[in-house]
């Protein structure tokens, strides 16, 4: 008798485990509230995606990134500076 209960218990345990494992797919992805940890822009792009990066500044160097953007803005938008 005890062997039969043991087998039934094992079956019950296995089926419960399978059921729990199948529910894992139903869980939602974590939604974190509050401020996000976004990578600062001056850190540059992910490696392998550098094809469109403008040369002339160093990724990770905030000062060089800022001066590159300022120079680009001055040259691109300030036509009074180009032809006073």
């Amino acid at each position: 008798m005890s062997a039969r209960y043991g087998f039934a218990g094992l079956v019950k345990l296995l089926s419960t485990s399978c059921l729990m494992a199948s529910f894992v797919a139903c869980t939602e992805t974590p939604q974190t509230l509050g401020s996000k940890n976004d990578q600062p822009a001056y850190q540059g792009v992910q490696s392998g995606h550098e094809a469109f990066v403008r040369p002339g500044w160093t990724a990770g160097d905030k000062t060089s990134w800022e001066s590159a953007l300022r120079a680009r803005g001055q040259y691109g938008a300030n036509d009074h500076a180009r032809s006073p």
Binding site: K36, P40, A41, E50, R54, L69, R70, G76, A77, N78
Partner: protein
């Protein structure tokens, strides 16, 4: 660096919609969503004025204040961004925004209304800079590429200026001084009235 800002010079904008097209192309924005648009006042009347409008990346952003799931965040450069993984598409931000910046695609996560989409100042989102995941959700991250927003860089008359607030203000100030008019378009006096106007209103 000061905060990143946009400004549109109404004396120069010719309503070509180049900024709108450039934005849609750069970020592959879905049909029905316009992160940027050109608004014309007194259209067809001599002296009409146009201005290009998108998210103005407010210093005290009302969208951030009303979002019930706190999906917005602000970068060190003052760019207001949001996390689409957290957005529930409720639309509160679109009611709060005075510029109509938040957009909702017709097809998306919530059936007839997708997750909110808006101008990112070409700064992407919380995913890794320049990654495929970031592009799919938010478009290109031009700031991380050392570039400025495509709308301003593509503007043929340089009416739309974008970048460091100090630099943008300097360029606009130079223009106003050279043309000897236009200062009245922007500023404290226009928004809140000059002291003489205030006196006139109170009397």
């Amino acid at each position: 660096m000061a905060r990143m800002k946009f400004i549109c010079d109404a004396e120069r904008c010719i309503e070509c919609n180049g900024c709108v097209t450039a934005c849609k192309n750069e970020h592959e924005v879905p049909w029905g969503v316009n992160r940027r648009r050109v608004v014309t006042l007194n259209d067809g009347v001599p002296g009409e004025k146009s201005i290009s409008v998108a998210c103005m990346h407010c210093s005290d952003a009302p969208c951030m204040a009303v979002c019930p799931v706190n999906c917005f965040y602000k970068t060190d450069e003052g760019v207001v961004l949001h996390d689409k993984d957290v957005c529930i598409g409720c639309g509160y931000c679109s009611y709060a925004c005075p510029f109509g910046a938040p957009q909702f695609p017709a097809q998306g996560t919530f059936g007839v209304r997708g997750k909110m989409d808006k101008c990112t100042f070409c700064a992407g989102g919380p995913e890794a800079n320049g990654s495929d995941e970031e592009f799919e959700k938010y478009g290109r991250n031009r700031l991380a590429e050392g570039k400025l927003p495509i709308c301003a860089e593509m503007c043929s008359t340089k009416a739309l200026l974008a970048g460091d607030g100090d630099m943008v203000a300097d360029i606009f100030r130079t223009r106003v001084v050279k043309r000897d008019k236009g200062a009245e378009v922007w500023g404290w006096g226009t928004a809140y009235g000059t002291s003489s106007k205030k006196t006139g209103a109170s009397s």
